[in-house]
């Protein structure tokens, strides 16, 4: 970023409306985090029970590979999703603190958490895509049997 641009950026200030949006974000992100973690735990437990209960020996190579990586993929998705929520929550917390105490340095630093949260959101999206494609292939293969 060039110096001229950097100087211009100093003139952007957060006004009341923007602060209100960020404070509401901080509140909503808490709900998002609690509900998200609860849902992730439920899904993980459900998948784990299903895995322990039935472990059929698949003759199809795709089924074998997909169902052997499924628990790891599921766990990786859950971890990435929880980390995404943690970073979003950190952003909410830092922004709320900065607004309440007019902490400019803290406010400016808070957005680093958003970048990290978005990186993890990428991972979650990628993993979800793999799940959907895998599920679709499984459905099609089962249907053709």
């Amino acid at each position: 970023m060039d110096t001229e641009n950097k100087d211009d950026l100093f003139s952007i200030r957060l006004n009341n409306e923007g602060a209100a949006h960020l404070l509401r974000f901080a509140k909503q992100v808490k709900v998002f985090m609690i509900a998200g973690i609860a849902l992730t735990v439920i899904i993980l437990v459900r998948d784990l029970i299903a895995l322990l209960r039935d472990r059929p020996a698949y003759s199809d190579s795709f089924f074998r590979i997909f169902f052997s990586i499924y628990p790891y993929l599921s766990l990786a998705t859950a971890i990435a999703f929880i980390l995404q929520l943690i970073y979003y929550q950190r952003l909410g917390k830092a922004v709320k603190y900065a607004i309440e105490y007019s902490d400019e340095a803290g406010f400016n630093k808070a957005f680093e958490s958003l970048v990290k949260g978005i990186w993890f959101a990428f991972l979650v999206t990628g993993f979800s895509f793999l799940f959907v494609i895998g599920d679709l292939v499984v459905i099609i293969k089962l249907w053709n049997k």
Partner: protein, 151 residues
């Protein structure tokens, strides 16, 4: 807006933060576009799923009775609805993120505080949207657990 909030005008975005926000905007834009494409693929899969199932059923598909045929049709219908619904939700949710990215990026380029507010509103909407979806999913899970317990 009350007067207590007036000191908020003191919070300015410095060069370092602008660069961080700019980076978050770039990633958010890529994520939103990927999410929207992903949602579109979901919708297409839903349509493909229904078409594929209908074709298989009309060819016989190894199904032996009318009951099985009806159940399969119902399953295909539910599958299609789930895929299309998931796709629509992904598109809608990521539109909020794209809003955040576009508006915040414009705000940083033009030093427009009002636009920055709109950008933050987009981020808030994105978060609120997924919070509601999470709660709905949790309720659906609880409902399915209760239903299975009653059966």
């Amino acid at each position: 807006m009350d007067q207590e909030n007036q000191p908020l005008f003191g919070l300015s975005i410095d060069g370092q933060a602008a660069s961080t926000i700019s980076s978050s905007v770039q990633w958010a834009r890529i994520l939103a576009i990927c999410g929207i494409v992903f949602g579109g693929v979901f919708v297409l899969l839903g349509i493909f799923f229904k078409t594929f199932m209908s074709k298989t059923m009309s060819m016989g598909g190894g199904l032996e009775s009318d009951t099985v045929d009806k159940n399969a049709a119902l399953g295909a219908g539910i599958g299609m609805v789930i895929y299309i619904l998931m796709g629509a939700l992904a598109i809608l949710g990521n539109t909020f993120l794209l809003n955040y990215a576009n508006k915040t990026s414009r705000a940083l380029k033009t030093n427009d505080s009002a636009m920055l507010n709109s950008g933050f509103a987009g981020l808030r909407n994105y978060c609120a949207f997924w919070a509601v979806i999470m709660i709905l999913c949790l309720l659906l899970f609880l409902l399915s657990i209760v239903t299975m317990g009653l059966m």
